[in-house]
Amino acid sequence: MTEVLPVAHGIVGRSDLPIPEWLFGWAAAVVLVVSFVALAVLWPEPRLSRATFKPLPRLSRVLLGRPLDLLCGLLGVALLGVTVYAGFDGSQTATANFAPTFVYVIFWLGLVGLSVLFGNVYRAFNPWRALGRAVSWVSRTAARGPLPAPLSYPERFGHWPAAVSIFLFAVLELAASDGDTPQTIAIAALVYSLIQFVGMALYGVEEWTERGDGFSVYFGLFARISPWGVRDGVVGLRLPLAGLADFRPLAGTVPLLAVTIGSVTFDGAAEAPIWTGIAPDISDFLQTLGLSPEKALEATFLIGLVAAISVVYGFYMLGVRGARSVGGGFTASELSRAFVASLVPIAFAYVAAHYFTLLLYQGQAILSLSTNPFGFLASNPLGEVGTDIFGTADRSIDYGVIGATSAWYWMVGFVVLGHVAALTAAHDKALTIYSDVKLAVRSQYWMLAVMVGFTSLALWLLSQANQ
């Protein structure tokens, strides 16, 4: 008997066909060719870190102005409110309720795309930052003077709170058996809110949001790929990827990236024979230790998730050790932080290739869900009445938006582009940190091997999906 493993995204009834062998082979070959050509032709002087920034003060006044900030903040808080309310009081069928699709698809995936295209838009919509600022404004007004200064954010915390948050989100999404239950999502949202309020109260709204708030840090990383940025409080345009050169990694940044890439890796592998073959064995073994079948399955997925993250972390650190061996007098920790920003395009490639069709198809469901967030039928025996606020209740998902072949090209395109972007970012960083161009180039052989490894893994996962 084949043990059926729970599909983590319980909201989805469609999955991707694996990319065909010829496309896998072609893409892998292109990645190698691109890598060697890149080594030969990439610039000998750092460009990204010295890239010009073109400020757009007039646009900036609108985009960062108070009215828009207030409006976006209100919208963010309203969406958080609807998610929690629908999660608790709405239908507990994951596909009928607003909360699961909104959180796992529109928020979690849609904002990654928006951040890469338009920069750090999440900052404006971040409901916790908006609430924190509102509370701070009210208390300042009530106190008729400045509030006591917040504590200074401890250096050693760095991005660790963010890394832990994103890891727990991945556990909820990929390992928890009731992770797609509306009520679970509502509880998680409230717990997360509570942590944010404590963090902001202790360390200040902006300080905490920038470093401790997991989603803010996560989307903020992807926003650095974007040509839109903010410098000295003014919105402007820069070279794409230039934001990565300015990035200042902290303690926990490398684990955060490992969690990001590792969790997508696990989600991809979970659909592949490599995992569906061994998972029942692990689960059976855990049951012999006394776990219930459900707990054993959750524990199995947790083990898989942690293993994938560890492999990603270990592989990156291996590359860093290699790069360290060429000299230059850096510690492994310094080098791992120096190059971590170049993992951001790889992380984007993973997320985009793996979740592109999910966002494209399941994302459409938000039309019929937002008009009836509680997910009740037009009328039912319990007296709960469905709504049709926007008149989009009968909009169903059009699965014909793109065909499987186009979807394959998009996926492979994301992976190859992500690879090129990562190489470019790593090369540019090497030129800035090594005094000697020769050392910089030699360190890049190692980083190149790391990138080729990650990219090949991404392609292989695409070729193994749902087989």
């Binding site: 009834g13 999955s15 066909l17 032709v41 699965y399 014909g400 186009s406």
Partner: protein, 152 residues
């Protein structure tokens, strides 16, 4: 290395990639863009009213039969078709159930002596879950089969 040499290498690499793509790519068309073309006819397939009526199309696959015992299958099977081919599926169940094919969004009742019959053209590519809607009430996995539609 001069700027011209750099550009030459980049262009050369691009050219190699494009030529390799043209050689490696099997078919000539993308073929996925008209996903909705035949969809409207799917729901009106006459299977429900006249169970014995549908004639298997000459080149179509024979009907797949899935047996449900207590809303569950022994093994989840894949129904593999190429885009445009007809899908013929019969789900027998020893208990009243509702069978749902995701993506195509077809739902038919099944029960003792009254199998759910589906016949529709596979117009959308991808992998779609076929579920028993009653399985969850008895604490079983809802997935009973997968419809795998490959590009033609």
């Amino acid at each position: 290395m001069s700027k011209a040499t750099r550009w030459f290498l980049v262009v050369l690499a691009l050219a190699v990639a494009i030529v390799a793509f043209a050689i490696a790519q099997p078919g000539e068309d993308d073929g996925g863009e008209q996903g909705n073309a035949g969809e409207t006819s799917a729901e009106t397939a006459p299977t429900a009213t006249a169970p014995s009526a549908p004639k298997p199309p000459p080149d179509g696959p024979d009907a797949t039969v899935i047996e449900l015992t207590g809303h569950a299958v022994d093994e989840v099977s894949d129904i593999e078709v190429a885009k445009g081919d007809p899908v013929r599926l019969i789900v027998r169940s020893d208990e009243p159930d509702d069978i749902h094919i995701h993506g195509y969004d077809l739902e038919r009742p099944a029960g003792p002596g009254k199998p759910a019959r589906f016949m529709f053209p596979a117009t959308i590519e991808g992998i779609f879950e076929i579920e028993s809607h009653e399985a969850e009430h008895v604490g079983k996995d809802a997935l009973i089969a997968r419809l795998v539609v490959e590009p033609s």
